[in-house]
């Protein structure tokens, strides 16, 4: 029969979050240490207690590492976030402009609709493509920030997401105070929330690709 500790594994989500927030050179040591403590605790107090301990340690470690990122390189993070925020503000209409230009180009060659149903489909396609275009733009900007803030990808993209969300929050508050019954406020809020998420996803994409490159390199070095 296998020992109990080998049957249980630490919470995957917590381990993934640690991997995301930890600098590459520390990932192996920190994940190894947490797993060792988890196994010890699981055999002593049971898997539930070990999982709670793992989550507690992971949360404290992530908070510490994010704080450290800001203390060690505050200006590089703030600089990257500010440039990206300006890109977000001034480039917000870029996806719409590209899509409208494409449609205008098509209109000279093909009429996009002939009846009411086709018009409804066209409007739906038009609004959806603008939404997707803007989300893609947020994702790309998130990737650019993460590329600029090497080793602190998550701290930088989360800061940009929060900053962007907070500025929209102020805008919304003013909007609600001026016109409380505005029907567009809630969809706008969801739209902006999706953009903040897309920015952070951009950070995750870059961070994950850097982690996998680092794992491949260290695997190759170990084989040598």
């Amino acid at each position: 029969m296998m020992p109990q500790e080998s049957l249980v594994s630490p919470p995957r989500l917590a381990a993934w979050l640690i991997d995301l927030f930890t600098p590459n050179e520390q990932t192996e040591s920190i994940l190894g240490d947490l797993l060792e403590e988890f196994s010890g605790l699981a055999s002593k107090s049971g898997p539930a207690s070990a999982s709670r301990g793992y989550w507690r340690q992971s949360a404290k470690t992530i908070v510490h590492l994010v704080g450290l990122g800001f203390r060690v390189a505050p200006w590089s993070i703030v600089g990257a976030v500010l440039v990206a925020y300006l890109l977000l503000v001034f480039g917000a209409s870029l996806p719409e402009e590209v899509i409208v230009r494409l449609i205008h180009f098509r209109r000279h060659h093909v009429t996009p609709y002939y009846n009411q149903t086709q018009l409804a489909t066209y409007v739906l396609w038009f609004s959806t493509s603008i939404l997707i275009g803007r989300l893609l733009m947020s994702l790309i900007i998130g990737c650019l920030v993460a590329l600029a803030a090497k080793g602190r990808e998550m701290a930088a993209t989360m800061m940009l997401g929060l900053f962007s969300g907070a500025s929209v929050g102020v805008f919304l508050l003013v909007g609600v105070l001026k016109r409380p019954q505005n029907p567009y406020l809630l969809p706008f809020l969801f739209d902006q929330f999706a953009h903040s998420i897309a920015i952070v996803v951009g950070g995750i994409v870059i961070r994950e690709s850097r982690s996998s490159m680092s794992r491949r390199t260290s695997g190759r070095l170990k084989r040598i």
């Binding site: 930890t22 192996e28 040591s29 797993l35 060792e36 908070v63 450290l68």
Partner: protein, 110 residues
């Protein structure tokens, strides 16, 4: 390095933990040693951040051990205090001793 380079409070504690643990000092044992001796619960991230800072200053050096199955095939990173680290530790101790000379700390605050 300037002769005024003193260890920070947590750096001081971490270096003392490394000295106590001799050749079994890695993340888990350092964290446990600090927790047992000071009653202070610290995260593994805080330990590594401090150890990396100390390594950058040349006060400690690290080396990876063999990968072990209980760590999911990951290696332990062992830490040792360097001669430069010992000098910084002594300098900090002397400064604390000089500052506490003639002070009845135990009598005043217990």
């Amino acid at each position: 390095m300037s002769s005024r380079d003193y260890l920070g409070e947590f750096e001081h504690i971490v270096i003392l933990a490394l000295l106590r643990l001799v050749d079994r000092a890695y993340g888990v044992t350092v964290r446990q040693e600090i927790e047992v001796r000071t009653g202070r619960e610290v995260s593994i991230g805080a330990i590594y951040a401090t150890l990396d800072r100390l390594e950058a200053k040349g006060y400690v050096r690290s080396q990876f051990g063999e990968p072990t199955p209980e760590r999911g095939g990951r290696s332990k990173r062992f830490f040792h205090v360097t001669a430069k680290g010992m000098l910084a530790l002594n300098r900090t101790h002397r400064a604390v001793q000089r500052m506490t000379q003639c002070l009845d700390l135990v009598g005043s605050y217990t």
